[in-house]
């Protein structure tokens, strides 16, 4: 095959054997049922263009025309894979490494025995997790990229934090995209099942081999039973030739606490969907975000928290520093259902533009049907203030350093929310590096 076929054609090609498989299947249950649903949805859904309200500022049509290959195996040896992973201190973590979606056992290491890890490909199609869990939270019906992921992903992972267990070390999932041989389209698929009273930290770290062309379409479903606590991070450091569309969808029950921190530091086109259903009383959800589109990077964060039950709390803080011709989108939806009285929801989005050519489109969207609630939102975008700059410089601090101090101060309240020290140190050194290399 000399002529490269577009991504859409590739997806269609992948779907053909799936259709055949499903036709042959005796019993359309479990995974088959979910995939069949995804197929049906794909027939009804369209890939978004700028005419779609939710995708107005995030162009993906060029990506869909690109000749990506779907999850080709990497040619890298385990040693090479290791060398190409981000420089993150993972000595005190449970490590799982995926390259182009494929699990690399040689590079992985689980320290905590109470963490249950299951790979989709090792399971029977009607395994209990397919019957009851996978595909039950993320919206296959409405989100075409989730439907694509559901239909064609083969290498998903299921993580269970059993009842009342505390996973001592963070679980670190490396997703390395290797497009150095062939442009790659990757479908990471995760299910995190936090049983009641459990506690864990899970970090998803996305990176790519320098300058290789990759496109990641990731879906993570999260389930928190009563009183479960989960601290979840999504860190994006893919290269400028790498695009990423990802959905994290969490469903929380009573007294649970979920924190998602999404940090996007590099990439080509990034679109993150974060959806949280607060389906129990006294739930707590934190949505923390930090993004730095420099160069021509585009970063779009769409978040939605749905207060379905009374007495829950959500707190969202998203901040961005934009440089060059970088662009960002922030869309924050808060739904408070009629039954969800005494809801307390807070949202804040703040941006600093380092260049006059950078831009942000921010849109808070609050839909409140209950009458006894506390909701607030705020949004600011502007250049770095001159007065603090002059103050610092008048004390002898050079311009570049003064700017860095102020930008770190700006990012400070988001970075402070990162509880895992190794993550915070890692992110801070990335930000340092980006600011050191930034020229106005």
């Amino acid at each position: 095959m000399t002529e490269q076929t577009s991504l859409i054609e590739q997806i269609e090609e992948q779907l053909e054997p799936l259709v055949a498989d499903l036709e042959k299947a005796q019993d359309l249950t479990g995974l088959y049922q979910t995939k069949q649903l995804a197929l049906a949805c794909l027939e009804n859904l369209e890939f978004p263009t700028s005419k779609h309200e939710e995708w107005k500022y995030t162009p993906v049509s060029a990506l869909l025309e690109t000749g990506f290959q779907i999850e080709p195996e990497t040619t890298l040896s385990p040693e090479k894979i290791q060398e190409n992973l981000p420089d993150f201190d993972d000595s005190k973590a449970n490590v799982l490494v995926f390259v182009n979606g494929h699990f690399s056992a040689e590079n992985s290491n689980i320290q905590d025995t109470n963490l249950e890890v299951r790979h989709f490909k090792d399971l029977d199609f009607n395994a209990d997790i397919f019957t009851n869990r996978v595909g039950k939270i993320a919206s296959i019906e409405q989100e075409i990229f989730t439907a694509v992921n559901t239909a064609i992903s083969k290498n998903g992972i299921y993580l269970k934090i059993p009842k009342n267990q505390v996973i001592e070390h963070p679980v670190l999932l490396y997703f390395l995209a290797d497009g150095s041989d062939k442009s790659t389209f990757i479908q990471p698929r995760n299910f995190i099942d936090s049983e009641s009273g459990s506690q864990a930290t899970i970090i998803e770290l996305f990176s790519s081999i320098t300058d290789s062309q990759t496109f990641t379409n990731a879906v993570t479903e999260v389930r928190l039973e009563n009183n479960a606590v989960l601290d979840h991070y999504k860190i994006q450091l893919e290269g400028v030739e790498s695009s990423h569309i990802g959905t994290v969808h969490a469903h929380q029950y009573q007294d649970s606490k979920f924190t998602n921190t999404t940090i996007s530091l590099d990439g080509n086109i990034i679109r993150n969907n974060l959806n949280i259903n607060l389906d129990g009383e006294n739930c707590t959800a934190y949505m923390n975000g930090f993004y730095m589109p420099f160069g021509t990077t585009h970063i779009d964060n769409h978040t939605a928290v749905d207060h379905l039950q009374p007495n829950s709390y959500s707190n969202e803080l998203y901040k961005g520093i934009l440089g060059d011709t970088g662009t960002a989108v922030f869309n924050g939806k808060i739904f408070v259902r009629q039954y969800a009285q005494k809801t307390n929801a807070f949202q804040s989005n703040k941006n600093i533009l380092l260049s006059s050519e950078a831009s942000v489109n921010a849109k808070p969207q609050l839909e409140i049907w209950a009458d006894d609630v506390k909701c607030s939102h705020g949004c600011t975008t502007g250049a770095l203030d001159e007065d603090p700059m002059f103050y610092l410089r008048s004390r002898g601090i050079p311009e570049l350093e003064a700017r860095k101090l102020l930008l770190f101060a700006f990012a400070g309240d988001v970075l402070e929310r990162i509880k895992v020290e190794s993550v915070r140190t890692f992110i801070e050194s990335w930000i340092h590096q980006k600011l050191d290399n930034y020229n106005e």
Partner: protein, 253 residues
């Protein structure tokens, strides 16, 4: 030490300084007084390197170096310090971290070795006494939520840490009660030496009871219209500025 020659400056096409001339020797304290809008704060800001002002004419030399060609941080390196009338609150930047960065940046400029953590803390402790500043303030964000008096004391504390050749105190006395004023003045007086000089920009004679000037200059419409000794300040306190304004207007007519 400092020579200002025929300095003209404007902001947004509005001329504020109209030919300032001033000579300051090491060891001297100069007070600059004048009614509101006479250009006192502009002069302080222009000397420190605020970029909003356009300089049309003139020269400012600090020990022979042309300040107007230097960035604000370079001027600080050369030994200029401006105590702000309204110190800026910077949430998220810790006072101590800021000071350490500033002290070492200035030392680097002066080709001195960086202070190690221990020496820095020792120096800080010593200088804290000088302005009676509370240790807790230093662990907080820079000026954030500080009272007026705390902010001004923090300015003098920074001055003590940076050891400038020439300090400009811009309305440091405004909004201070008498106790705070005494503390601030005491700090300034202790830092005085035959090698450094101070410019006190003020509205009120009161501060000059505590920081006694060698010379007093009256600024009006962007020019120094009268210079004298500390007695001039007393005269202004008694008679106000009107008689001087009249004098000027009569001579221009």
């Amino acid at each position: 030490m400092l020579q200002i020659k025929n300095l003209h400056a404007s902001i947004e096409d509005k001329k504020i300084l109209n030919g300032i001339n001033l000579n300051i020797q090491a060891g001297e304290v100069h007070a600059i007084m004048g009614p509101n809008g006479s250009g006192k704060s502009t002069l302080a800001a222009v000397l420190a390197g605020r970029e909003d002002y356009e300089i049309h004419e003139g020269e400012v030399l600090l020990d022979g170096k042309n300040l107007l060609e230097l960035a604000p941080e370079e001027r600080a390196g050369e030994g200029l310090f401006l105590a702000f009338q309204y110190p800026i609150e910077i949430p998220g930047v810790s006072n101590t971290n800021f000071l350490k960065t500033a002290v070492n940046a200035v030392r680097k400029y002066r080709e001195q070795p960086e202070l190690d953590a221990v020496t820095f803390l020792k120096t800080m402790k010593k200088k804290m006494k000088l302005v009676e500043i509370d240790r807790a303030l230093l662990n907080r964000s820079l000026n954030e939520g500080f009272s007026g008096g705390e902010k001004k004391r923090n300015e003098i504390f920074q001055m003590a840490m940076l050891e400038p050749k020439l300090a400009i105190l811009d309305e440091t006395d405004s909004g201070l009660d008498i106790d705070a004023l005494r503390i601030v003045a005491n700090g300034v007086n202790t830092l005085k030496s035959p090698e450094n000089a101070t410019i006190v920009v003020t509205h009120y004679q009161r501060l000059l009871d505590y920081i006694v000037p060698d010379f007093v200059h009256v600024l009006y419409k962007g020019q120094i219209i009268k210079s004298g000794t500390k007695e001039l300040a007393l005269e202004l306190e008694e008679k106000g500025y009107d008689w001087l304004k009249k004098e000027v207007e009569e001579t221009t007519v």
